[in-house]
């Protein structure tokens, strides 16, 4: 059961991965600029130097052109769709609103009127806390379930039952237990982050190659050495995948949870702006949520690459 759902998750994440490949493009972008400067200062540009420059330009084009074109088409469609007026603002209108909004992102006029910066930060804080608790509980639990078949058989049906439940269904329970909106939202994040963490860690532990464990047995390594030298490095890539999957879900869920609980937060802000009928702010929020989610995901992919490069 778990293997199938895992694959499904990987499948949906793939398109995001593609964006990593365009990242090096951004690094390349600086270099052609340098080269053009050099060409201007040099009196006689050597003919040989032209070829690598041409190649670089072509590589740069290949890396940057498709995403830029995609963005432009999106903007055009948006522009065309909103050209005739109506309730949804066009790109220009939204841009103007964004300029005003981001001119002062950290103002405070009472609890229900704060800058967009504060809203993003408080959402991130909730995700961070809920997610941190989930990691602290989920990763060791995953280790235990991965090592003991009996416990895994005991707990797996419970996980299978609870995992498909929308985290928002847990929100009333959270409100009931914590009596406050803020911890209830954090608790919702905890619930939705913990499943991928447990399952990926457990799967990683189960997939530690028997050969490595045989090495440990022949060397008669201490339990501490087995965990630090063999189990943890072997499971690390799986743990990181679990973290990446759960932070993605957590960021999805926080917006919805905050809409329901209120307070300060990007989700609440969207809802508030809807009540104020500031639709351009809602569109800005959509972009902001997307960008923050992208940054979270990409930084985790980067971290995973760095750590697994060291360990593979």
């Amino acid at each position: 059961m778990s293997a199938m759902t895992m694959d499904g998750d990987f499948g949906t994440k793939k398109p995001v991965d593609r964006n990593t490949h365009s990242k090096p493009g951004a690094e390349v972008a600086a270099e052609p600029a340098k080269e053009t400067k050099m060409e201007k200062t040099a009196t006689l540009p050597a003919p040989v130097a032209g070829t690598p420059f041409g190649e670089k330009l072509a590589a740069f084009g290949r890396a940057v052109l498709p995403p830029t074109l995609g963005m432009l088409i999106l903007l055009c469609l948006w522009y065309v769709a909103t050209m005739k007026g109506g309730s949804i603002p066009g790109p220009a209108q939204t841009w103007e609103a964004a300029k005003v909004l981001f001119a002062d992102p950290f103002y405070r006029n009472g609890p229900n009127d704060q800058g967009i910066g504060w809203n993003i930060l408080s959402s991130l804080q909730r995700v961070g806390i809920g997610f941190g608790f989930a990691a602290v509980v989920g990763i060791p639990l995953g280790f235990i379930l991965g090592r003991s078949k009996f416990l895994a058989d005991m707990v797996n049906p419970i996980i299978s039952l609870l995992r498909p439940v929308s985290p928002l269904a847990w929100l009333p329970i959270g409100l009931l237990v914590f009596k406050k909106a803020d911890p209830a939202a954090t608790y919702t994040i905890f619930i939705c982050s913990i499943w991928p963490m447990i399952m990926n860690t457990a799967q990683g532990v189960q997939r530690v190659p028997q050969d490595y464990l045989n090495v440990a047995r022949v060397l008669a390594l201490s339990e501490w050495k087995v965990v630090t030298k063999i189990l943890f490095p072997a499971v690390l890539p799986y743990i990181l995948t679990g973290i990446r999957l759960s932070i993605g879900t957590a960021w999805l869920v926080i917006v919805a949870a905050e809409m329901l609980t209120g307070g300060v937060g990007i989700g609440f802000w969207v809802w508030d702006e809807w009540n104020n009928l500031k639709v351009e702010h809602i569109i800005i929020a959509i972009f902001v949520i997307g960008i923050v989610g992208l940054i979270l995901e990409q930084s985790l992919i980067l971290l995973a690459k760095k750590l697994t490069k060291e360990s593979s």
């Binding site: 045989n214 047995r217 022949v218 050495k225």
Partner: protein
């Protein structure tokens, strides 16, 4: 004859979904100190099972295995294993892989400098000084297998157990490593048990070749004493009538007396 490793009436039965599977029965074998034994037989004859029993990775269903008159009750560093697929930890460098073993065996008695010295010496023994700081994925299959051998030797084991150590290598690399192994075994006087399905390898390296019958319920069919003088040279041996006879004897056992594997497959 000095009895170093004693295997007495050992049988191994596995519980499978289809019921009990008898892998080995009635194994009796005594290994002298410093002897090189090759276990040869067709696939599925239980030669790796026998090696795992000596390693202590599995325990026998019947019978008993002794090392220096003490029962083998589990795996331990005095019986080092060179695994078929090298089994190096990919997140440790070659040096660290060997060091892990050295530290385990000598860490209680010796200081860090001495442990590092031992590790370097073991890596030097297999001629990999230059690759010591590399990770396993940065070196070739033959080099990985050499690190595996260095790891096993660094523990100064009483018995060196090798499970088809060169099976996954190309013929040239295999020949080179066989020559190296011969030198190392002569220098260290290591008692070695090697699982192989390569007839030339068995004759070239062994003092005795233990030929196993086909499974299920495999046992020792014949034991061939190889009385070729050491050091052995593969090129001179190729024309040596005694070598050719030994080779023929093993081939005859495998392909005439124990040929029914092919019949079942066909």
């Amino acid at each position: 004859m000095e009895k170093f490793v004693q295997i007495e009436r050992v049988g191994q039965t596995f519980d499978t979904k289809k019921g009990k599977f008898v892998a080995l029965r009635d194994i009796d074998l005594t290994i002298r100190k410093g002897e090189f034994i090759a276990l040869i037989g067709h696939s599925g004859c239980g030669k790796s099972t026998l090696l795992n029993l000596i390693a202590g990775l599995t325990l026998p269903t019947t019978g008993v295995l002794l090392l220096e008159d003490r029962e083998i009750g589990g795996p331990g560093p005095e019986r080092a294993v060179v695994f078929q697929n090298h089994s190096l930890l990919p997140w440790l460098t070659c040096f660290e892989n060997v060091y892990l073993a050295v530290e385990r065996v000598f860490g209680a008695k010796e200081g860090k400098a001495k442990l590092k010295e031992r590790t370097a010496a073991a890596i030097n023994l297999v001629g990999l000084d230059h690759a010591s700081a590399k990770y396993p994925h940065e070196i070739s299959g033959g080099m990985k297998q050499r690190v595996g051998i260095a790891r096993a030797l660094s523990m100064e084991p009483k018995v060196l157990l090798m499970d088809e150590p060169f099976g996954a290598l190309d013929a040239l690399t295999r020949a080179k490593l066989q020559d190296e192994l011969m030198k190392i075994c002569e220098a260290t006087k290591a008692t070695t048990v090697m699982v192989t399905h390569d007839v030339d390898e068995a004759v070239l390296l062994s003092d005795r070749i233990v030929m196993m019958t086909n499974g299920p319920a495999a046992t020792i069919g014949e034991i061939l004493e190889v009385n070729l003088p050491r050091p052995r040279q593969r090129l001179t041996l190729a024309h040596d009538p005694a070598y050719i006879d030994y080779r023929a004897a093993v081939l005859e056992f495998l392909y005439e007396k124990q040929a029914h594997v092919e019949k079942i497959a066909a």
